[in-house]
Symmetry: C2
DNA sequence: CTTGACTCTGGAGTTACTACAGGGTTTTCA
DNA sequence: TGAAAACCCTGTAGTAACTCCAGAGTCAAG
C-alpha cells in the first residue's frame, strides 16, 4: 500500500509517517518506480505499535527502546517492566505537580471579586507582590512538560481505523 | 543594575531575560556607554510578575494579556478572572487526562510478570495487538502538552531570591 | 490530454527557552 | 600599569514531536 492508505489505516498523518522514517522509528520504505513509498503488513504493525505508545505519552526514546526489545525477543522483559514503571512514575509525578498548581491557581482566583477595576484587582496585585504560596515553581526540576501544548499533537481519536 | 544582578534577584537565567526582551515581554532596556543593559525597580517588578506567572504554568500569550491589564489599570478585571478560569480549566483537564493515562499504564503493566522472555512479554504483546482500553489517545484534541519536557524549564527553586 | 488526487523533497514554524561561539567591557588585584 | 577574571554583547542553533508549506513529479479517471 501507499503512504496515504497506511496513514488512514493507522490514523497517522502522512507527514508524521515520513517523519518517523527520518527519525529511524520506521525502516526506510521500499519505493515504486515513480519513487512512491510502499508498505506492507509489517510496517503497519510497527506503526500501530508506535502510535499506541505515543498515545500513552511515551517519548520517542522510550519507544525506541521498546522497539528494540520487540526486535530482539530473546532477551528478558525485565527492562520493559522497568521502562514502564519509570514512565508511570513520571505521569504520577506530573499529576501531583498539576494538582498543586491547581490549588495555587484557585487560591489566586479567590483574590478577586467581580466588577472591580483592574487597578485594585486582587489577582494582579497578588501576582505583582507575590504571596508565599506562589513561589514554588510548577515544572521546576523535573523533566516533565508544561500544561499547554507546543506543536499540537494531533493523534486523532479513531478516524477510519477499521477497514 | 546590570543584567546579572537582575538575574540573581529574580532567579532568572540571563539568557532568559534577554529572550523576554526579544519577545517583547520586557521593554527594551536602556544601555550604558559600553552597551550593557541597565535595569531599575520597574523592570524587576515586571520580570518578577512574569516569572510568577510562568511558575503557574501560564503561556507567554496568557502572560502578555495579563501584562496588558496591568499596564492599563482602568479597565475592569473581569477578563483577568476569565483568563484565570480558563487556565484553571486547562490544568484540571490535563489532570483528568493524565489520571486516565495512569490507569491505562497500570493495566498494561499488569500484563507482564517478571522473569519471562520478551517473546512472550505481555506488555509488548498488548502494545502490538492493541487492547480496546488502549485506543484513547492521551493528548488527543486538546491544546495540552505531553508528560515529558522538551527544552527544560529551569525556573530554579528559590536561588538567591531574598536580597 | 487534462484535471485532480496523490506523492515527493526540503525547509521553516511551533513553545519557552538553553547553549554555545566569538567577540567586547569592566573589575579586580598584584 | 597591566593582565587576568568576570561579566556582558549579538547571533545562531538546538530541544520534542511533529505540522505546514512550496514547488514539483506521478498516477488514475474521464
Amino acid at each position: 500500500m501507499k503512504i496515504g492508505q497506511l496513514a488512514q489505516q493507522t490514523g497517522t498523518p502522512v507527514d508524521t509517517i515520513r517523519y518517523y522514517e527520518r527519525e529511524g522509528l520506521l525502516p526506510r520504505a521500499a519505493r515504486t518506480e515513480g519513487n512512491y513509498r510502499i508498505y506492507d503488513a509489517v510496517h503497519l504493525e510497527r506503526l500501530a505499535f508506535i502510535r499506541r505508545c505515543r498515545s500513552l505519552d511515551m517519548t520517542q526514546d522510550e519507544i525506541r527502546v521498546l522497539l528494540r526489545f520487540r526486535d530482539t525477543p530473546s532477551e528478558s522483559c525485565e527492562d520493559v517492566n522497568a521502562l514502564l514503571d519509570a514512565h508511570i512514575g513520571h505521569v504520577a509525578e506530573r499529576i501531583r505537580e498539576l494538582q498543586q498548581l491547581e490549588k495555587q491557581l484557585q487560591t489566586l482566583r479567590e483574590c478577586c471579586q467581580e466588577g472591580r477595576q483592574a487597578a485594585e484587582c486582587g489577582i494582579l496585585n497578588e501576582l505583582s507582590h507575590g504571596g508565599a504560596e506562589l513561589t514554588t515553581p510548577a515544572a521546576s526540576e523535573s523533566h516533565l512538560a508544561a500544561t499547554h501544548a507546543g506543536g499540537r499533537q494531533h493523534v486523532p481519536p479513531r478516524q477510519g481505523g477499521g477497514a
